[in-house]
Structures are given as structure tokens and as C-alpha cells.
């Protein structure tokens, strides 16, 4: 073993506790080398080991007849019909995006793409769930600008359309924005590539970009809070190269059409370490790496640096030995590095050699099996007192104009106008056209729908209700297009898990999500956990972001939210006027109070299935779920999307105030637009579904029941003002 041995003090600098370092010593039977300590510290980091979250994640349902691979692989895989599988996952790049917004977001997109195409899928769509600090906070504009440019800069160039996502603001994200990137790909269901290595003696092949010093210890950085030294962490952020990623996609897919690949995994967090350790570990084999063969961008890289580098656009593969030459030819055509850097062995150990010296020699089974696993203490989130009556200080029309223009509800066109959503020639519903993005599958009638959802203010007030709501809203958004929801990926963004109240939020959110997943037959097939989202001890709102996937047999059946003149509008689902944690309460009454709206999962399922049946029967011309801002915001968004007015004629039930009726955020509701509501109302009565006729479309103004009219032009001006004036003004 070369170099000086590691010490407990160095281990602490690498993020290992004294107890964890003790385990390292027990496994090794001696002090580890620097490289070995680096390998242990990244593999046992929160980011790679899920040591605080694993025991809770086991509570989530992960199976269904259509699930091909659940959590544990690079991404989740579900059967979607026509012999095809959808492969998808969401992953956070929160910490790097705070330090260096452009590259942090760009490499987030690149990393999630690799998780998907490493399994044999051509990526067809990306989405991004973004949460930023208050618009008034001095750092927010710079972060928004960099993140949006980074997502566009990478996604537009790599050639995968960015078709949806979310953007929200809250002061809790001032020092810790969330950038959660999701990618969906398509592959033949019987041609899925996995990461378990097999075949002693088979070559281990490195392809893609060269290795440099960027991103060393990125996984460890992502597993710690930020202090005032965040700027100093910039060297841990990786730099993205979407052009190389595009070549890597094409080269890998070309190779995957042959029978050369035994196993393949991208080099993501913890780079060469995690890919080699996980591939060999899952396959129950050993691996010997010769780092002299690794393509290097700069001279003088040490073994430690190469094993921990997070240089982007790199993949590790195990090939059939007789296919090595053919594989090399493909990568040479695409002008990418291709290097045999090792062999599989029967030793059950990872042995890393550099310049003729053994730099690391670690038994793989204990590295995985004795990884720390914590059942950290939890403290329940105190329940919020009921809201009681809240007076309306401004009236319905003024509240509508204020809400439709507030940062959390205004038009996101400024953002999505920087993302190429039409690339690929299959985008049926672009951003803003429907509750979920809808893409047809090339050459087929079949289409997929995608969405990302979470309402963190609900989660903060009641993690369990908020967790259930996030899953239910994703299911509802897919349903509103006519799609049958299939499965989700989750991105659990929370604060410091060593604080019982944070672990309590995590556990509560998981309980709510699990209940919703079961009630809606909507299992979790992949996901990512991002903890330590804190700066100087202040945590973010608990944000379990859900990425949902659904399928439509025929793309032509998809409906959007845009109205045309001459339709009748009906709200489906019960409206009681729940103002607790609503945007009306925050924006108009200036309070962030009360419990969030409860989610009745049985009603959610019944109402959603009924709505989807009506859509697929061709009865529905437009559909929009009722979410942030309530019923009147939903109607206004439908009017804006169609550039047509609406005359409202509904009145609140006895005992419900007008502002609670129009802006309450009761769950499980949809606004449907139909040519003639008579049949729909009769069907609802027969099926026991709560429906209420609320008005009709036409003209160029939104007319409230009291006769006050706001022109669609005035609504649009209010809706579209914020982003351009804030960012470019």
C-alpha cells in the first residue's frame, strides 16, 4: 500500500463519524490508505448510502403488474404496452445549483439522462421541479437565471425536449434552492440493461469524457449543510458538456443494439468508485482496476483523485470479451474515449492499481453490507390549529387579479420559452397546454404523460397530508389529460436528518405518500433522497417532489385545459372552501396558517377514475385540475389558455363564504368543459359523483356571478407581468 495511512482526523474531514471510521478499521484490519478512505467515505455518504432514509423508504409500495424494475436499479422501469417500457427517474442537484447555478443545473440534467440511457432507453423527455427563495431575496434572481439557462443550455443541446415541471418560490429556499431533474426514456421491454457485473475475466471498459479534477468529493459535499463558506465549495461542482453527452447517448444506443454489453452503469455521484463498486457488488464478483489506463484530462492525477472525480459524461461497462473490438469501433466513430481499465475477478474485492502500486484493496461485501444504517430519532410536526373564519379584505375580483399575477401562480412562459419542448417532433401537449405534458411515441398512436408535483407549504404544516397530496396531485394531473397513471419517481428534499423534527417530517411524508400510492395503484419505481438542505441551520420546507408517468392508448384522446367558446363548465368533486395553507390566505390575507386541505384518497380515486372514463369516451373538450389558488384560478387559467372569456353563474353552498368557495384548495377536484352538460350531470348523478355547473365559455371577459367582468386581456397582463419585469426589467 502506498502513501501515508489515513487518520481519524482525516476521516472526519471526509465526513465519516468516529464510529463509522471504527467500522472501516474493523473491515480493513489496518489503517486504510488515502484512496481507500476516499472510497469508504463516498460510498458511506448520505448521498450514496441512503443511511438515514433507507429504513423509511422501505415503507413505500414499489410493485404492480406493470412494474418491470422498481427501486435499486439506475432508474425505474414500467411496461407501457406495444412491447415497450418507460424508464424514468428524478434526481436532485440542489447543492451544486446553489454554489454554481448554471453548471449545477446543467449537470443535473446530464446526470439524470445517463441514469436513463444506461438502461438502454432513448431519452424522450425531461422535466424540472424548481424551488427558489423569495423573489425579494438578493440572491434569487441570479440563481433563477443560472438554473434556467443551465437546464436549457444542456437539454436543448443534448437533444431531449424539456416538456414540463414546476417553479415555485418561498423564503425557506433563500439559501438552498431545489433543482430536481426528471428524464423519461423508452426501450423495448425485453432489452433493458442492468448494472450487475458478471463473468470473471470480462473486460471493464471506460467510455466517454476524460477524467479531470472536477467534482472531487461532490457526493460528500451534497451530504452536508452549507455555512458561510459555500463559495469555497465551487471546485466540487462538475462542469457539463452536453455535446459529449449527445455523442455518448448515440454511441451507447448503437452498442446496445448488439449483444456486446454484459452490464453498464453511468459514473454519477462518486464517479468511478460508485460505478465499479456497485457493478461488482451487485454481481457478486470482484474487480481489478488499472488507473494508468483511465483516459485523463490533465497530468499528475493521483489514484485518490481519479477514484473520486465526478467528471461528467462517463460510463463504465462490462463487455463480452469477443465483442471488444466491435464496441471500440463504435466509440471511435463517435470520437469518444474507449479504454479497457480492468477485469472482473473472482476475489470479491476491489483492487485499484496505479503506477505499479496497489492503492486500494477492499472487500466488497462488507463495504456494502456493513454500510451505516441509521434509525434516527423523529419528532412529530405539531398539528396546526384550525383556521376559523377569515374575512375577505379585498373582494373576489381584486383577489383574482392579485393571485393570477403572484410569483407562484403567474405565467411560467418566461421559463419554458427557454426550453426546447418540440424537439423530436412528438410533443402533443406542450408546457401550459395541459395539466401534464403529453408525448406521442414515434411511429405509434400510444402516448405518455408526465408531471412533477409537490406543495411544500402543505408538507410543512402536515407532512403526512402533504406527502399524500403530492402523490394525489401527480395522479390527478395525469388523469386530467386522460392518461392512466402508472408509477412515480420521488425526490425527497429535506433538511438535516440529525434533527428529530426533520426526520419526523421525512417519516410523515413517507407515510402519506405510501397511503396515496396504495390507494391510487401508483407505485414508486425510482427516486432520490437529498438531505442536509440547510444553510446556517435553517432548513427548507419539506419537499417530497413526485414525478408521475401515465399512458394513453391513443395520443388523439389527450385533452388540454384551453377553452373554446360555447362550452359549459362543470366542477367535479366536492367544494367546501378550505382556506388553510391556501395561496389566497398567504397572498391576500398575509397568513401562512392552518392545516392543509385533507386528501380523501377513496374519493380521489373514485372521482379521478370517473373523469378519465369521460375523457376517454370523448365527452370532454377541456379539463383542468383544481389546485393552487382554487376554483377561480383554475377557471381563469383555462380562459387564458384558450384566449376566451367565461361567464360564471355558480353560487357557494349555504354557509360557505364566496372567497372560500372560489379560492379554497379542497382536493380531488377537476373543472371539465363540455359542449352540453346535461348528459354529464345525469351520468354523475347516476354514479354518485359530486358535480356542479359553474358557467359557460364565450366572449372576451371573465364575468363573476355578481356581474363584475375582468377582460381576458387584463387577466393576461396581470398573469404575464411578473417574470419578464423581474428578470429582464
Amino acid at each position: 500500500m502506498s502513501g501515508r495511512p489515513a487518520t481519524e482526523s482525516l476521516a472526519r474531514d471526509f465526513g465519516l463519524t468516529a464510529e463509522e471510521y471504527g467500522r472501516v478499521l474493523a473491515i480493513m484490519g489496518r489503517a486504510p490508505s488515502l484512496t481507500e478512505l476516499g472510497i469508504f467515505s463516498v460510498m458511506w455518504s448520505e448521498h450514496c448510502s441512503y443511511k438515514s432514509s433507507k429504513i423509511w423508504l422501505r415503507e413505500l409500495p414499489t410493485t404492480a403488474p406493470w412494474v418491470i424494475h422498481g427501486p435499486g436499479e439506475n432508474a425505474g422501469v414500467v411496461a407501457i404496452g406495444d412491447g415497450l417500457a418507460a424508464i424514468f427517474k428524478m434526481e436532485s442537484h440542489n447543492h451544486p445549483s446553489f454554489i454554481e447555478p448554471y453548471q449545477g443545473a446543467a449537470t443535473g440534467v446530464g446526470g439524470i439522462l445517463r441514469d436513463v440511457f444506461t438502461m438502454g432507453a432513448r431519452p424522450i423527455a425531461s422535466l424540472n421541479a424548481l424551488r427558489f427563495g423569495s423573489p425579494d431575496h438578493p440572491g434569487t434572481r441570479r440563481i433563477v437565471d443560472g438554473v434556467v439557462r443551465g437546464i436549457g443550455g444542456y437539454g436543448n443541446c443534448v437533444g431531449v425536449p424539456t416538456v414540463g415541471g414546476e417553479v415555485n418560490f418561498h423564503p425557506a429556499y433563500n439559501g438552498n434552492p431545489l433543482v430536481n431533474a426528471m428524464t423519461v426514456g423508452i426501450a423495448p421491454a425485453d432489452r433493458i440493461f442492468l448494472s450487475a457485473a458478471a463473468g470473471v475475466g470480462n473486460p471493464v471498459v471506460y467510455v466517454g469524457s476524460k477524467t479531470g479534477r472536477d467534482g472531487i468529493h461532490g457526493a460528500t459535499m451534497a451530504s452536508a449543510e452549507f455555512g458561510q463558506d459555500a463559495e469555497e465549495k465551487r471546485p466540487t461542482v462538475q462542469v457539463g458538456d452536453p455535446f459529449t453527452e449527445k455523442l455518448l447517448i448515440e454511441a451507447c444506443l448503437e452498442l446496445m443494439a448488439t449483444d456486446a454489453i454484459v452490464a453498464i452503469q453511468d459514473m454519477g455521484a462518486a464517479g468511478l468508485t460508485s460505478s465499479s463498486v456497485e457493478m461488482a457488488g451487485r454481481g457478486g464478483v470482484g474487480i481489478a482496476l488499472d488507473l494508468d489506463a483511465v483516459p485523463q484530462r490533465e497530468s499528475g492525477l493521483s489514484a485518490y483523485e481519479m477514484m473520486l472525480s465526478e467528471s461528467q459524461e462517463r460510463m463504465l461497462m462490462v463487455l463480452r470479451p469477443d465483442r471488444e473490438a466491435a464496441a471500440r469501433a463504435i466509440f471511435e466513430k463517435w470520437e469518444l474515449d474507449f479504454a479497457v481499465i480492468g477485469r472482473l475477478t473472482g476475489t470479491g474485492r476491489i483492487v485499484v492499481t496505479h503506477r505499479g502500486r496497489v492503492e486500494a484493496d477492499i472487500p466488497l461485501a462488507p463495504l456494502a453490507e456493513q454500510a451505516p444504517l441509521y434509525h434516527r430519532p423523529t419528532a412529530p410536526t405539531p398539528s396546526r390549529a384550525a383556521l376559523g373564519a377569515v374575512a375577505d379584505p379585498v373582494g373576489i375580483a381584486a383577489a383574482l387579479l392579485a393571485l393570477i399575477g403572484c410569483p407562484d401562480l403567474c405565467s411560467r412562459a418566461w421559463v419554458w420559452n427557454q426550453y426546447d419542448a418540440t424537439l423530436g417532433g412528438q410533443t402533443v401537449k406542450r408546457p401550459g397546454a395541459a395539466d401534464a405534458a403529453v408525448l406521442r411515441l414515434e411511429g405509434l398512436r400510444r402516448a405518455l404523460a408526465f408531471t412533477t408535483d409537490c406543495t411544500p407549504r402543505y408538507c410543512a404544516a402536515d407532512p403526512e397530508a402533504g406527502g399524500a397530496q403530492a402523490v394525489a396531485e401527480a395522479w390527478r394531473n395525469l388523469t386530467a389529460t386522460g392518461a392512466r397513471p402508472l408509477a412515480i419517481t420521488d425526490n425527497m428534499n429535506f433538511g438535516n436528518p440529525e434533527k428529530p423534527e426533520i426526520m419526523g417530517q421525512f417519516a410523515g411524508a413517507i407515510r402519506g405518500m405510501a397511503a396515496a400510492c396504495r390507494a391510487l395503484d401508483f407505485p414508486v419505481v425510482s427516486g432520490n433522497v437529498s438531505l442536509y438542505n440547510e444553510t446556517e441551520g435553517r432548513g427548507i420546507l419539506p419537499s417530497p417532489v413526485i414525478g408521475g408517468l401515465g399512458v394513453l392508448e391513443d395520443a388523439a384522446q389527450a385533452v388540454g385545459l384551453a377553452l373554446v367558446p360555447g362550452l359549459e363548465l362543470v366542477v367535479v368533486g366536492a367544494t367546501q372552501g378550505w382556506l388553510g395553507q391556501s395561496l389566497w390566505l398567504r397572498e391576500i390575507a398575509g397568513r401562512e396558517d392552518g392545516p392543509p386541505p385533507p386528501v380523501d384518497l377513496a374519493a380521489e380515486r373514485r372521482v379521478g377514475d370517473w373523469v378519465r372514463t369521460r375523457i376517454l369516451a370523448g365527452e370532454i373538450r377541456a379539463c383542468h385540475d383544481v389546485s393552487d389558488g382554487g376554483l377561480l384560478i383554475a377557471v381563469a387559467e383555462m380562459a387564458l389558455a384558450g384566449a376566451v372569456g367565461v361567464r360564471l353563474a355558480a353560487s357557494p353552498p349555504v354557509g360557505t363564504a364566496a372567497h372560500a368557495f372560489w379560492f379554497g384548495e379542497d382536493q380531488g377536484r377537476y373543472v371539465l368543459a363540455v359542449a352540453d352538460a346535461t348528459g354529464l350531470l345525469a351520468a354523475a348523478a347516476a354514479d354518485g359523483i359530486a358535480v356542479l355547473r359553474i358557467g359557460s365559455s364565450g366572449g372576451d371577459g371573465l364575468t363573476l356571478p355578481d356581474g363584475v367582468t375582468i377582460s381576458v386581456a387584463a387577466l393576461r397582463a396581470a398573469h404575464e407581468r411578473f417574470f419578464p419585469s423581474w428578470m429582464d426589467g
Binding site: 443541446c157 455535446f243 449527445k246 423530436g424 417532433g425 406542450r430
Partner: protein, 229 residues
């Protein structure tokens, strides 16, 4: 009509283009790797959109020096048809097959949205299925679509009728607001003097299907389908 699509490393709209061509012509175009040099038998060569070589030097600058480009030049000199869309338009200007250059958008931001194009002449092989003055919709998706040429070149293009399309309002007015990327004289598409090479920034190939937002771009491909074999 036999069409080929050149695939440079980093190109990403070649499939969109193939779908649009196949929809109008009824046959699959040939995919041509940028290192190939034999374009024999093709009536139309298309340089599609994307980020050839990552756009890392100047958009299209490296692709313009690819082995295939000498063959594209010879094809054009033989009177063959050439269509360059987005990055393809940038490559044609970098190769000197069309005048001018595409600069960074005036807003300094990537622009991905539908725009409206006014057809400036309808007597070309590309535009004969449109009426002169007709406005059609197409998505744009570019960071560098701001057409630039010196005043003499712009005057010559106008004088010789080589402006194919201008950015306009839905009613056909070439206003500053409709010209989002800041192109000189709202120019969105340029023809060669023999009217056989066309460069255009927006993507008519992504507007050929009613399910995907309309068929505004289809007349361009229907026109190309009629090219004599």
C-alpha cells in the same frame, strides 16, 4: 424525389426532419454521416437542426468544414436542392453557401416558442405551395438566430428577391415585436441566387401534424415532394 439528411455530430433534429419528409414524400430519406462524401442520386440534401460539434466554436463553423460539405457544395453547383434549417442554416452561412451570419439572439436568451413567418415569394421549389404574403406558424428553438449581413448584402438580397421568409405578426406585419431574435430586416429565411438553396431558422418540420399543433409547415415538404427526380 430522393432526399438525404446530413448527420453531423451533435445534430438532434434529424429525426424530426425525416418524419416530415417521409410524411410528404412517402419514402424514408437517406441518413448521411458527416464523414461521407458521396451524395449521388439525391435531389435534395438537408442540413437539419441541432448543435453540431456542440456549437462550441461558432454555430456551424466546424460542421461547415466537415468532409461532406465539399460534396454538398458540388451538389449545389450541379443544381441540386439544399435545405438548411436552424443549425443547418448556420452551417450554410459558415460554408459560404448563403450570405450573412446568424448572431446571438438580441435578448441574449435561447428562444423556444412558436413564431409566424410571412412568405416573401411563392415561385420557388420550396415555397410554391404557399401564397406570397401568406403567414404560417412554426416553432423556433435557437440561441443564435439573429440574421446579420452588411447593408449592401441586405440590399442585394432584397433587390434580387432572395428573402424567403420574414418574422411577422399573425396578420403579416413584420413588426419589431414579432422579430424576437432581432434579425436584420426581420429576415427568417434566405435563398441562393439560383433559388435552389434555402436556409431558414424556425422549424417547419415540427409543424406537419394536426395532433402536434398544426400543419403549417407541411406545404414546404409537399412542395419538395414534387421535385423532379
Amino acid at each position: 424525389m430522393r432526399a438525404g439528411i446530413v448527420v453531423f455530430p451533435g445534430i438532434n433534429r434529424e429525426r424530426d426532419m425525416a418524419i416530415a419528409l417521409a410524411r410528404s414524400t412517402g419514402r424514408q430519406p437517406r441518413m448521411i454521416w458527416h464523414a461521407e462524401t458521396d451524395l449521388a442520386g439525391l435531389d435534395l440534401v438537408v442540413l437539419p437542426g441541432g448543435f453540431s460539434h456542440g456549437d462550441y466554436l461558432r454555430c456551424g463553423a466546424m460542421a461547415a468544414r466537415s468532409p461532406v460539405m465539399a460534396a454538398v457544395r458540388a451538389h449545389a453547383e450541379r443544381g441540386g436542392y439544399v435545405l438548411g434549417v436552424c443549425n443547418g442554416f448556420q452551417i450554410l452561412t459558415e460554408a459560404g453557401l448563403l450570405p450573412g451570419a446568424l448572431l446571438r439572439n438580441a435578448s441574449l436568451r435561447f428562444l423556444a416558442m412558436d413564431c409566424h413567418l410571412r412568405v416573401e415569394r411563392s415561385d420557388t421549389a420550396f415555397t410554391c405551395r404557399y401564397q406570397r404574403g401568406q403567414v404560417f406558424r412554426a416553432p423556433m428553438a435557437h440561441g443564435d438566430g439573429n440574421y446579420f449581413a452588411d447593408p449592401e448584402t441586405l440590399d442585394r438580397l432584397e433587390g434580387e428577391g432572395l428573402v424567403a421568409f420574414r418574422y411577422a405578426t399573425p396578420s403579416g406585419e413584420p413588426t419589431a415585436e414579432a422579430n424576437r431574435n432581432g434579425s436584420a430586416r426581420s429576415i427568417a429565411g434566405v435563398l441562393s441566387p439560383d433559388l435552389r438553396t434555402l436556409g431558414v431558422m424556425p422549424h417547419p418540420e415540427d409543424m406537419v401534424d394536426p395532433l402536434l399543433g398544426g400543419e403549417d409547415g407541411k406545404p414546404l415538404f409537399d412542395a419538395l415532394a414534387e421535385l423532379a427526380a
